[in-house]
Amino acid sequence: MPNYSWPDQDHRALIGKRTTRVDSSVKISGRAKYTYDVKRPGMLFGKMLRCPYAQAKIVSIDTSAAEKMPGVKAIHIVQEPGAQVHWAGDEIVGIAAIDEGAAEDAARAIVVKYEKLPHLVSDAEPPKGAAEEQGPLNGDDIGDMLDNQVPEREMIKQIQQYGITFKPEENMLKEMKEDGAPDSVLEAIRTAPVHESASARPKSYYQKAAAITQGDPGKALAEAEVTSEGLYGIPVITHCCLESHGSTSEWTGPENLFVHISTQNVSGIAGQMAEPLKIPASNIRVHQDHIGGGFGSKFAPDRWGIVTAILSKKAGGKPVRMMLERDSELKVAGARPSAYARVKLGATRDGTITAWQSESWGTGGPGGGGMPPIPYVFNIPHQHKEHTAIRNNIGPARAWRAPNHPQAAVLTMCPVEDLAAKLNMDPLALFEKNLNLTGARAQNYAQELGIAADLMGWKQKWHPRPATVPSAPVRGVGLSMHTWGGRGHNSDCDLTIQPDGSVEIKMGSQDLGTGTRSAILVVAADTLGIPIGAINLQIGDTLYPPSGGSGGSTTIGGVSSSTRRAAVDARDALFAKVAPALNAQPDELEAINGSIRVKNDPQRTLTWKQACAKIGAMPVTVRGKNPDRNHPPDLTNSGVAGVQMAEVEVDPETGIVEVKKMVAVQDCGLVVNLKTAESQCLGALIMGISYSLFEEKVMDPTTGVMLNPDMEFYRLAGLNDIPELVVHMMTGKGYDERGVIGLGEPPVISPGAAISNAVANALGVRVPFLPLTPNRVLSAIAQKAGA
């Protein structure tokens, strides 16, 4: 059996070292081609006419004037009269024209009449008693879930749990399939309990989403020596990918489509386009070289992607490019659900946390959304929690880097910090005292808290909260902890060694800027004992073997494992060919420094080129897979810890919060490339500062539209907002042997809670909701003064 295990520290040429990102040079020179940069011969420009109302019925659509305009090549009505629209910015009519100006002119010439309907875009605390039980689901409910991209397993859960109000007829299921329903969902519908007598349930904006009790929280709270109560929250924010969503589609034959698309999911796009376009998935080629940000929002072709392909077909197959404008990108192409909670904690006087009680709510748009995993990290023995999902008209939510975890961190780590203040305890001591509640990673948290405290200078910087709000700028420190899963997605890797010594890897994966290309090459080059530059890596095309979507921090586990297995198999095949020439057994050989040589006898050696010449006429081609139970061990793992600390300065007169320093201590098993791993953490800290201080999707309650769909008022953190950042990766014993674990999500989880806690420490006042804008800080100060 080949030995696929990761090499130990003494036998790694590249793994775990700092390797320069392999696509840096194309990115800094402008040579990197993104989907937005692809210009196909004869390409037309697509535009989407969107609904201006948050909830409306389409009465009529008149495209006749637009159709007559010069330069207009195709028009496609996306939603017909009679259809109901549930958020402002939803797609109504697609247009393709010879240039962008002509397409815009045509969009302006289309007349759509709407009947406006009442809407809700607020996610304020639900009125008492407003939340209703979810009853059996009707056809519209399921259609809504499909439209709103509710995750497959959530849909199945709801269908199984609540049942349906209709007999599932096959032609109805067929229609649902055409609307994109996965087979597993259709199967759930077929086998769901049918409650035909339950009429369509009354629609409420508020739905009881969870009511969970563990232990005896009532008793535990009554007996608690100290209790602490507070209100906390984190609003809806957007993904704001710099490269907006979009694609270019062209029909290369009556049943063949070629798609360039900005996606986190190259191998998974064709399967999602096949059904609505009614062509086999294998007839759809998907290509992407580089992607300008995804962060969880780019797994699907999206309705505008399907429309782009339809417009191309209507235009005789000509390529059509449709990239979203910035305002649409911020309105409809991705949002992170909000989460708010009233939390009560109970503890003993020495700081042992005993009880948790929470009433939480939040919105994920029309789908409502679920409860974040609270209490987070700390499994408090006695808990009662209720969650209300607000189904409103702000547009659909999408997975946003570490879905639900930044919310859970704010809703947990802030109450715990408030409890520490009530106990007159250093929160670091309170966290340490309760590490037994953190489960399998308790030891990691303990180590990481110690390292983070040293790097922050916590002991010198932490002070008890001031009794009164200071009058001059004041500093404070705060901390938070987080966790995430990992493992590796499905990934196939083809590796070829040619007799001339050249090496090629093909994989249908994608590099989101996380350093996936670099990681694949580090693993392959380390295993084959050749330089990274000697390997030609091809990714981002359905012509290559499939690799999973890049989500949930599963990419590094997937691609590193399949690459390792492929490289070990190819290397061993090469050893077998070369062994006779070196007068040795294959298992006596090693690949190192561009040579194949006999272990312990470096005199018996061949250069890589000489060795490959022994392959014969046909190249060595192997496929590595992940997961692969037949080729153990599992090279990935799941479950990381992570600690972050923030130091802030707050000006109580202006309410301005400045982050002065942040520390991230992070484990992720075996680090493949230390340089890009550190960059991931640095980037996550910066993204965290951004959503802690600035970001919020602001909705206008009256008109129901987003008020800040641009980059002036949807403010990202700039270079000016970034303080000293310290990243410490946990490596070596206790970490390396766990295998490779993803890093995309974990470090972005804690900044909100850590920064909020630092502000509370500085001011002696909790600012309940992110982002910590001057307005919110001043309100919290005023409330304290008035109390």
Partner: protein, 206 residues
């Protein structure tokens, strides 16, 4: 504003962007012929182009291009869609994010907010101009060394903004770096690397 007007500061008029848009709509009814007309605007006869395609001559990265463009086409769209030079990126399309930053006669500008016809007679440089014979210049090398790009979509704009900063302040202070790059946004969070890259060039006295 064009220098021609500098002679008469007392009735300095020129054509603001708002005027220009107004003029565009006035002439929208005009027949679709190329070439400038003149109309009275703000008390002066000013040339008006369009609304159809007009000849536009651009100098980009040292090369002269002759294009036929509608006057409403921005410099960014002309560079990207007509010249297929795609280093400058389209992100906000309204002078907020800096991803389209190019140099015009050495000054950093947002190419999304300059009309192509306004860029005539000026030297436009995009990020592509920095790579000579396939070799990165020292600023680009510093970006590579400090891993100052992740997804890389903002990177060309940052490189050009950084070049403009270093051209004016060869040894910028931390404050000058902060201010000089405050017109550019990154979503992945590469600011730490960018800051270090500029510091490296500064030390070298680039």
């Amino acid at each position: 504003m064009p220098d021609d007007n500098a002679k008469k500061p007392e009735d300095h008029a020129g054509v603001s962007r708002r005027d220009f848009l107004k003029i565009s709509s006035i002439t929208a009814a005009a027949p679709l012929v190329a070439g400038p007309k003149t109309v009275l605007a703000a008390g002066e006869q000013v040339p008006v182009y369009g609304p159809g395609k007009v000849p536009v001559a651009l100098t980009v990265n040292g090369k002269k291009y002759h294009l036929e463009l509608e006057p409403r086409v921005t410099l960014l769209d002309a560079i990207r869609d007509d010249l297929d030079i795609t280093g400058p990126k389209r992100v906000c399309d309204r002078a907020e994010c800096g991803a389209c930053t190019v140099l015009m006669d050495g000054q950093p500008v947002y190419a999304c907010s300059v009309l192509a016809i306004e860029a005539q007679g000026k030297k436009v440089e995009t990020v592509e101009s920095l790579t000579q014979d396939g070799k990165s210049d020292s600023l680009q090398q510093a970006f590579i060394d400090h891993d100052a790009s992740q997804c890389g979509f903002c990177t060309p704009g940052f490189v050009m903004a950084s070049k403009a900063l270093l051209d004016q302040h060869p040894s910028p202070s931390a404050d000058e770096i902060r201010r000089g790059l405050s017109g550019n946004f990154c979503r992945c969070g590469t600011y730490a690397g960018i800051r270090d890259a500029i510091a490296q060039c500064s030390r070298k006295g680039a």
